[in-house]
Amino acid sequence: MSDSVRTLLILIPGLPLLSAVVTALLGRRVLRHWSHLPTILALGASCAMSLMLLLEVRQPAPDDSTSGSVRFAQVEPLWTWIDVKDAFELNGQSRDFTVEVALRADSLTSVMLVMVTFISTLVAIYAAGYMRGDDGYGRFFAYISLFVFSMTMLVSVSNFVLLYVFWEAVGACSYLLIGFWFQKPSAAAAGKKAFLVNRIGDFGFAIALFLIWTTYGSLDFHGPDGIFGDKLLSGEAAYVGGGVGLAICLLLMVGACGKSAQFPLHVWLPDAMEGPTPVSALIHAATMVTAGVYMVTRCSPLFFASAADPYVVGYGLDAVAISAPMVVAGIGAFTALLAGLIALTQNDLKRVLAYSTVSQLGYMFLSLGTGSLIGITAGMFHLFTHAFFKALLFLGSGSVMHSMGHVIDMRRFGGLRKIMPYTHWTFLVGCLALAGVFPLAGFFSKDAILIEVFVQGHSHSPTAAYYQVLYCVGIVAALLTAFYTFRAFFMTFYGPLRVPAEAGDHAHESPMSMVAPLCILSVFAATVGLLLSSSFGQFLVQTPSLAYVAGQEAAHATGSHHDHHHAHQLVATTSTLVALLGIGLAAFLHLGNRSQAQWLATRWWSAWFYRLSYGKFFFDEIYIVLIVWPLRLVAGFSYLIDRYLIDGIVNLCGAIPPMIGSRLRSTQRGIVQYYAFASIFVLMFFLVAALYFNDFVN
């Protein structure tokens, strides 16, 4: 059993790596327009193996189950990368800095693996049709395989350092893929922006790692001393709370904000739409941006420890206890609202979907920020379902773009349901799922989140009021989600048929290679919520760290389970009403005559809001003024120093020999007697030196 798990764990990331190497080496010359083949085969195989791994993890051997909850985690070490003995002393005990490349199989990992590989396979099949005829066809698939390798390794590794390595790797792949059409300056700039903003998040993440190392003395997940290892999870050693715990969690959150495009590091995701649509679907909807959520879920014991021992600011009655989950929830809710507001007025179909992704990720963080196990599992479930319907929406928009000749401005086309039926119906399924309409997937996951936030808001803890506010924000964001989603839908597919000039003769339904993944995804988007909503949480809690959280919660429970049923119905009705309201508003403003939206945009009491929303709340401009300009000044100043001061010194040093040379050159006049003078002078010098040397010696 462990052997098969080991093989699966090695092959799941290994096959995409192999296909990346093969495609990189052979793609240009040998494979050419068959370059998609190694990638699709590898990804398909990975997907199958992820499912097998899932089954293996679901049915642990009887001897692995301990009393009480079922926990399963199997760690397969491959080799040791770094081994520094006695690197650090913690509490009088010296710790080794050892980084072992070890892959981990537990329920969280297997769920992520299944999702990542499945979506990647479908996207790869789609991309084979979408990118056909492109110059960098082979390069594209090599990058895709490389990305899938990095992502699968990210969710499989059992060490923080390796997590960081693959965190960076997915960032690098994202950069490569966003700037895939690098000849376009906007694409190159977008890639650079994505990478740099990610880098800021990575910086926070790195400092968090440093803090973890100095606090806990280990960077492993597993093992007796591991952060989610035996001693800490069994209670033998305690997680650190208070200021240090808060700092660790907040810095981890900074990393997650960078990767998952939360406020204030959300600016890169809309620009990342410059990349090809399959890239947007894969990376910026389903996989890379979820890495932040995954990381926070993985580190939930740390967040829980901060919640159990919050950091108190101020004294006495004014004291405010800050715990990390509160901050996470706040950031998530705020981002959800912000992105929703911006998406209301965007005209670029992919931008709308990008802001929608940011908003949904905000939902996930809001859910993770409730601090309870149900919240965590609800967030992960939303991640899971969101992957399906968001990928579906992106692929659908790609289909639209493909047939409209790469025009994506919604104002330039309309009424496409007549010429693109498959795209139309699958897009509708996706929109309904995103809006959270029963019985599609989005309903169950979003519902679960809102329920948990509501419950937290009505619990007896001191933070209840805070969560009530967040609940209202979540409801408003749901309304906005439904509105802008269906606004985009109606603008694209309804109304009179308009095709832009660039479409040429493309304006027809996409080929089967693109439509098939759409159909498959729509099926999943429709059903996965219904089927998996109950078993998902139970499966996920088998992860040791989550089981720990469950256990701690049960120990400190304040007994509010009976509220859940009540809350269930209330929240379900509220959210459905809100969704239908949003759809109705969208239909009202955009289905018929479009002048209603125009009229609204030009009223004096709403024009300012329109401009604010359309300008993305001017975050880009603020960052340019606050960050980019000062950096440019510093860079310019450094350039001046380098060019004039340092190069000046070097040039000065370089100018000295010619100066000396030109002085000495005047002695070479070509006349023999002058040369004789020189030799006699030297002779005399040596004679005198010999005389005086003798005098000194004697």
């Binding site: 050159r665 005047s666 070479q668 070509g670 006349i671 023999v672 007697q673 004789a676």
Partner: protein, 164 residues
């Protein structure tokens, strides 16, 4: 053991030693003087032949010094070396004079100032600022006996040969 006649002999022996020493010293001074005068001449003169003459003078000074050392040490080393110096000086003179002839052929005279092409690029050529006129005393033709017939001194006819 000192014998009665030993005193004079000893004094004589000491005197001989001192004599040899001073002889050596004096010869070295003469050799140095010859060498120094030769140096001055080499550095100052412009005629190729005279320059070479001064080189030979330097060699002669060295020969004197060498022979003096040989005499002082009482062995043949100094003289043998001077013999070889002589032989080498003879070869050197032969080749030098052959070269001077070649140089004369190309420049028409024995002046060293024509051969300065080894100078650096941005140095100017050294030229004569003024050419001193010959003294009256230098142009004195030899006074012949009444039996001899003085040849014509035609100053317009070029005196130097165009080739050798």
């Amino acid at each position: 053991m000192v014998a009665p006649g030993d005193g004079k002999k000893l004094r004589e022996g000491v005197a001989m030693v001192e004599y040899e020493l001073h002889l050596l010293h004096n010869y070295l001074i003469v050799g140095a003087l010859l060498f120094g005068i030769g140096t001055i001449g080499f550095l100052a003169r412009r005629n190729m032949i005279v320059m070479f003459l001064c080189v030979e003078m330097m060699l002669q000074g060295v020969s004197l010094s060498l022979v003096a050392w040989g005499r002082y040490h009482g062995n043949w080393g100094g003289q043998v070396l001077v013999i070889f110096i002589l032989a080498v000086a003879a070869c050197e003179a032969g080749i030098a004079l052959a070269m001077f002839l070649m140089l004369y052929r190309r420049s028409g005279n024995l002046d060293m100032i024509f051969w300065q092409s080894l100078r650096e690029e941005n140095q100017s050529e050294t030229v004569d600022v003024e050419i001193p006129e010959p003294d009256e005393a230098d142009h004195q033709w030899p006074i012949l006996t009444p039996a001899g017939i003085e040849p014509d001194h035609d100053t317009e006819k070029p005196l130097h040969r165009s080739h050798v």
